[in-house]
Amino acid sequence: MGMNISEKILARASGKKRVEPNEIVDGKVDVAMSHENAGLVSKTFKSIGVPKVWDKSKIVILFDHRVPAESEETAKGHKNVREFVKSQGIEHFYDIKAGICHQILPEKGHCRPGELLVGTDSHTTTHGAFGVFATGIGATEMAAVWATGALWLKVPETIKIVVNGKFPSWVGSKDLILRIIGDLRADGADYKAVEYYGKTIEEMSIASRMTICNMSMEMGAKAAIIPPDDKTLEYLKSRTSKMFTPQYADKDAQYEKTIEYDVSNLEPQIACPHQVDNVKPVSEVAGKEIHQALLGSCTNGRLEDLEIAARILKGKKISKDVRMIVIPASWEVYGEAMDKGYLKTFIDAGAVIINPGCGPCLGAHQGLLAPGERCISSTNRNFQGRMGSKDAEVYLASPAVVAASALLGKIAHPKEVSK
């Protein structure tokens, strides 16, 4: 019996010929990523009593959740991490002028097909877009990884999702993954891996694939993997010189179940408060007044996301009752958006541009909500109280829907404002 991609990667990482679902393995980690919570990790690491980290070349640390520091508490946290990085000689450290971890890891060549990557961030599933088994862990567990280079993992069962069909205008990967989450529900893939196949996935850009894998976390996925192809290798070519071995599923690989989608008639999808699996087509939500429109995040802050929003906003003005916030996912995206004129389009339309980072997505700073306010957001979570007041509402949508809604001051299908 053959193995699927997760099983192959975990077999390799644990030095075994084959592994099976529900088997517990000791996985050797190829990349260990932490952001601001590296402060918590380092505190716990020091308590273990191992003087040096297991491999200073395999740890990536960066700041993205609160950049620049929004409080004295965070400034102290950043300072402690900088000092730890220096004292341990951590080779891959990105300070406040880099971007969101899930954008920086691929951009800087840390996502290599076939590898095991762990991060102290739930959306670490994003890196499955490059054929990596990538999963989120807690800070204490990361401290143990820093000390030993390994962690126990249960080999997950895998759901296979096959997507075919051509997206209608203004519909894309965010709408698809919201629809899938709405169908499978928040815990539909808890403890499980997901593998994505089909013509639609093959034709998708790398950025769109990252959106799919990023949001797979919102149905509980432990890992979300897309088999690497020429596009993947082309993306990585200029970004890493390290050798890697992509893994592919055997023809007779086993899956817990297979689900098929055809996107030909898919409408833009909206995740309504306060659960990501509370998903409705835009036609059922259109017309709801909004106060804030947020474009950015590890889900949808990449160049193609800014491009589609700029196309909708070009030469127009955002509703006077809406605050639109735009956050490029990284400095690379920021620079490209500047070169292509998207940033000028945004400021001319009346949007506020914020430096690359997580911004208000997790309720830290840069645009929180007051009681009674409603936000249309390209981010990945709409939990009660996440973006400020517990009496505010967050609706999740694609960048195109966010831009169209910003123009009209209400949730809208992009076709309402574009030809």
Partner: protein, 166 residues
């Protein structure tokens, strides 16, 4: 070992933003974290929770972010265990790694109301509802998970292992 305490009842899909809001993440002291457990949505909880109380919930407790403060704040608020129908993967690992007992207990969301007095035996997994005079049984956790919990969490467990190897 059995523990008696009050049940704090929550619903399905309780997420880590609700348990420990993002604005409190820069806090580094666990006792300080405890003051903000559930604070934003359930402000009474950190004020009234007592040592050895239980958090009882439906399916998929602890979904969302990987922030382990969601487990730390409950542990340091005195919560003796989280008893739920099921847990989200990262919270499950974090709780075990931090030494916060969790019990997967089918039927607990129907069988326990907010404020009920519970007595929980961690060895047998028996959850007695003293208020209702009923009894439920939690599923056994895997042996290696119990070893981590019995050592008080992953770090004491790892230290013990490292000491053995030297």
């Amino acid at each position: 070992m059995s523990v008696k305490g009050r049940a704090w009842k929550f619903g399905d899909d309780v997420n880590t933003d609700v348990i420990y809001a993002g604005k409190f993440l820069p806090i580094t002291e666990p006792t300080e974290m405890a003051k903000h457990a559930f604070e934003v949505v359930y402000p009474d909880f950190p004020k009234k929770v007592k040592k050895n109380d239980f958090v009882v919930a439906g399916k998929y407790f602890g979904c969302g972010s990987s922030r382990e403060q969601a487990a730390t704040c409950l542990k340091y608020a005195g919560v003796a265990a989280v008893i739920a129908e099921s847990f989200a993967r990262i919270f499950y690992r974090n709780a075990i790694n931090l030494g916060l007992p969790i019990l997967i207990c089918p039927g607990v969301s129907k069988g326990v109301d907010d404020g009920d007095e519970l007595e929980v035996d961690f060895e047998s997994g028996v959850v007695k509802n003293l208020t209702k005079g009923t009894e439920l049984k939690a599923k056994a956790l895997p042996q290696f998970v119990m070893e981590i919990l019995n050592d008080g969490g992953l770090i004491p467990h790892l230290k013990k292992k490292l000491a053995k190897n030297t």
